[in-house]
Symmetry: C2
Subunit: 195 residues, 2 copies
Amino acid sequence: MTQPVSKKKERSTLSAGDWEQQALVLIAEQGIRAVAVESLARRMGVTKGSFYWHFPNRDALLEQSLLRWEKHDETNLQASLGAISDPRERLRSFFRRTGREKLTHDVYSSLCTASDHPKVEPLLERVAERRMKHIEAAFGEIGFAAEEALHRARLTYSTYLGFLQLQRQHQAPNLSSEEFEAYMTHVIATLIPEK
Amino acid sequence: MTQPVSKKKERSTLSAGDWEQQALVLIAEQGIRAVAVESLARRMGVTKGSFYWHFPNRDALLEQSLLRWEKHDETNLQASLGAISDPRERLRSFFRRTGREKLTHDVYSSLCTASDHPKVEPLLERVAERRMKHIEAAFGEIGFAAEEALHRARLTYSTYLGFLQLQRQHQAPNLSSEEFEAYMTHVIATLIPEK
DNA sequence: TCTTTACCATACTCTGGCGTATGGAATGAG
DNA sequence: CTCATTCCATACGCCAGAGTATGGTAAAGA
């Protein structure tokens, strides 16, 4: 009952990955600035001594955490959007995806708040680029010309980013509310032309 | 030639307003976190001693600076949008306005990056609320039903916020470029229905 | 001229957060 | 059993940036 129940948690020893994971949780909850070595250590139930055994410094932790998140987001994008053949449905799926994958989503929202950070800015660029490419491709498949598809992809992604911002300001309807569904329906109808 | 040439600048004495103004410039350039007492003092050509004569602490400066900016933005909105009678033209003007009033605009973009700050968050709420009301009213005048107008206003403003985010990531076309004009035309055509 | 008031300089203190140094405790290899 | 490796605790040093204490100067009244 008090022995190894879950995979490898319980009371064994910490790995670098554990630190990275908890750092991401902290980023999602309070932003990247909240990732302080000592407070994070308290959160893990240990002290700084442990941290500096796994990482040379705070920056290394951030780097690894962000890299971990980026990989996760990439495979995530492939899995949830790459499979859908109908481009219209793929775009709708992109919007709906906002609700699920809460941690990944919250981390991204927090990172947008730190677009000046030297480690974060290039990451945001890569991620946005990747996502927009997908959207642009979908609009291309629908039948829009190259430039039109580019513009429409940027507009679509801007809408998403803006929604995140409003969410941070508590001015966007809750993801699980009826108002959110109504708004989503409107957005999709406006940005994704029928037939 | 070395005497009081401009209104009251030159080499006289500093006022609280001067500090607030410079703080806003710093916010626009490097974000609110860059507003440190000593660095700001260096920028003004004086030392901390001066600052703490005008303000009780750093927070007071931020409060006054943000208040000053909010007032400026409010009158700005009234002046540039309140006068235009045609709702469609008013909306187009809102988008175009992005380019002008550089300082006000940059400050807002920087503040969006600090939506977690206790002083900034309510400010952002008020400003976004005010602006969206204008947009919503315009869509109402065009003829949309109440809920539709609300959704469309939120979508419109989200697009604006998202564009700011992309700008911060250097992924939005420059305001003075041809690509920007083309994109703007596309956005307006998509969000503001003709007739 | 003498003093007050407004404005600023200098030199501190104090706190938070990073990084270091070093000394255990546990665990597996031999 | 011994000992090396792994993981962590404790106790420091250090620096940036906020806030304080106090003294100086210039200009404006009295």
